[in-house]
């Protein structure tokens, strides 16, 4: 009974995220990617750490599942770097949500990151952060072109 009172919403979220990542292994194993229990725990902790570092909070499911789903078929992710890349992507994702002042949706940002991670960034999250994502956020902050229309950053050279 006493243990129940120790379950804050945060702890419940962590438990749910662990269950979610375990289930995702069934999908990602097809791409040679599998997270051990230890790595699952690390990634879940990393998610909350990244949120705290960027001054953000998630009340629901969060982006972990979507992030794994989006990136699991990347040619630049393998069993050796899977955990590390997820760490870096989590950091990037929340950082650039802030940098773009939340003007870009989760889906748009994640798809943008995947496209450039697999493309011109050739699997380097550092390069992705320093080039494509920086440019994306500059556009997002600039908002409008001179003629007053909104920038469609999908069409712009970034």
């Amino acid at each position: 009974m006493a243990d129940q009172f120790a379950l804050s919403p945060f702890n419940l979220q962590k438990m749910a995220a662990v269950v979610e990542l375990r289930a995702l292994n069934e999908l990602t194993v097809r791409f040679g990617l599998y997270l051990s229990e230890e790595k699952i725990q690390n990634i879940v902790e990393k998610r909350f750490e990244a949120l705290k570092d960027t001054g953000r909070i998630e009340f629901g499911q969060g982006i972990l599942k979507a992030l794994v789903y989006e990136f699991c078929d990347s040619p630049y992710i393998n069993a050796d770097n899977y955990e590390e890349i997820l760490f870096e992507l989590l950091d990037s994702f929340y950082y650039f949500k802030n940098e773009s002042m939340d003007s870009i949706s989760d889906d748009e940002l994640m798809q943008f990151m995947k496209r450039h991670f697999d493309g011109d960034c050739e699997g380097s999250v550092d390069y992705l952060n320093g080039t494509s994502l920086e440019a994306l956020c500059r556009y997002a902050k600039g908002m409008d072109k001179d003629d007053g229309t909104a920038i469609d950053y999908e069409d712009e050279e970034v």
Partner: protein
């Protein structure tokens, strides 16, 4: 926001009562915390239109305040502290929130009605901040977000009342109280000729049209002074003889006596003017007490800055 949503807000609580005073158990707090978390998730989804799973902590705090405001509004309108503490324990938080939003919506209608009255009774003196505020207030009703940010005031209110609405008032409560006081001020000023009021304001302010001032208070002040002397108030002007007589009236009085004199005077002034604005007494008493304080402070050196000659 930390790892625990601080929902009970310490002594006094955020809902007008302290749950710990009503026998809440640890399980009650845990249940409430879980429900608040779920409501925060729903409100966050609403705020971001489902586009973001995460939000900055500052925004989360604002969303939380919006929830508290609505539930607090419901509790203020219903039940005793004990009944509300019990409702918080037993009723789903989402239901209390929804009921609170309905209370807030009703208050919005009250606000619209008061704004209509403010426009009807508007002072005809041209003052930029006064006019800008009347122009800005319709935007409040367009932009006010009852669904997520009911505690917020999404417009700038420049015009200063004689006695400001407390900053503890939020959302529509602030606007409604602001408008209530504004109407009282408007109606009082409406008893006097606009040209006379303008001459009075010129005596008080360097540029009454541009300055961030209150138009009503000098009018009330001079009317109070003339009434204390038993003179007609319409002309609003305090003559040299009037200045001497007022000084003589207050010079030897203690602060408490000055407050009593002013307190009684504003009541009889309103009666003599047939000033019948509903629920105005408390507000006008507050204004009168402010004037009494200034009289007490300046009675040794002279009252010319309080009662104006023009």
């Amino acid at each position: 926001m930390g790892e625990n949503l601080n929902i009970t807000g310490g002594a006094g609580g955020l809902f007008g009562f302290a749950p710990q005073d009503f026998g809440w158990t640890e399980m009650d707090y845990y249940r409430l915390q879980s429900q608040l978390w779920q409501l925060m998730e729903k409100q966050t989804r609403r705020y971001t239109s489902g586009d973001s799973s995460s939000i900055p902590v500052e925004i989360a705090e604002e969303i939380k305040q919006g929830i508290y405001f609505c539930i607090g509004s419901y509790f203020n309108a219903n039940g005793t502290a004990a009944e509300n503490a019990d409702a918080l324990r037993t009723e789903p938080l989402s239901d209390l929130f929804r009921k609170g939003q309905q209370v807030v919506w009703r208050q919005v209608e009250v606000g619209k009605s008061r704004f209509g009255r403010a426009l009807e009774t508007a002072i005809s003196i041209k003052n930029i901040s006064y006019m800008d505020t009347l122009r800005a207030l319709p935007d409040f009703f367009k932009q006010y977000d009852v669904f997520v940010m009911a505690h917020d005031i999404p417009v700038m209110i420049d015009y200063q009342l004689a006695v400001a609405v407390p900053e503890t008032c939020r959302g529509i409560d602030y606007i409604n109280e602001y408008l209530r006081r504004l109407v009282i001020e408007n109606v009082f000023c409406g008893y006097f000729d606009a040209a006379v009021v303008e001459r009075l304001l010129r005596a008080e302010y360097a540029d009454f049209q541009l300055d961030l001032i209150n138009l009503f208070e000098p009018v009330f002040r001079n009317a109070l002074g003339l009434h204390l002397l038993g003179k007609p108030v319409n002309a609003l002007n305090i003559t040299e003889d009037d200045q001497k007589n007022l000084l003589a009236l207050f010079h030897t009085r203690e602060k408490s006596q000055i407050r009593q004199i002013c307190g009684e005077a504003f009541l009889s002034l309103c009666e003599s003017m047939h000033f019948n604005e509903k629920d105005a007494a408390d507000y006008l008493n507050a204004v009168a007490m402010g004037i009494a304080g200034r009289i007490a402070a300046f009675k040794e050196t002279g009252l010319r800055q309080i009662f104006l000659s023009f």
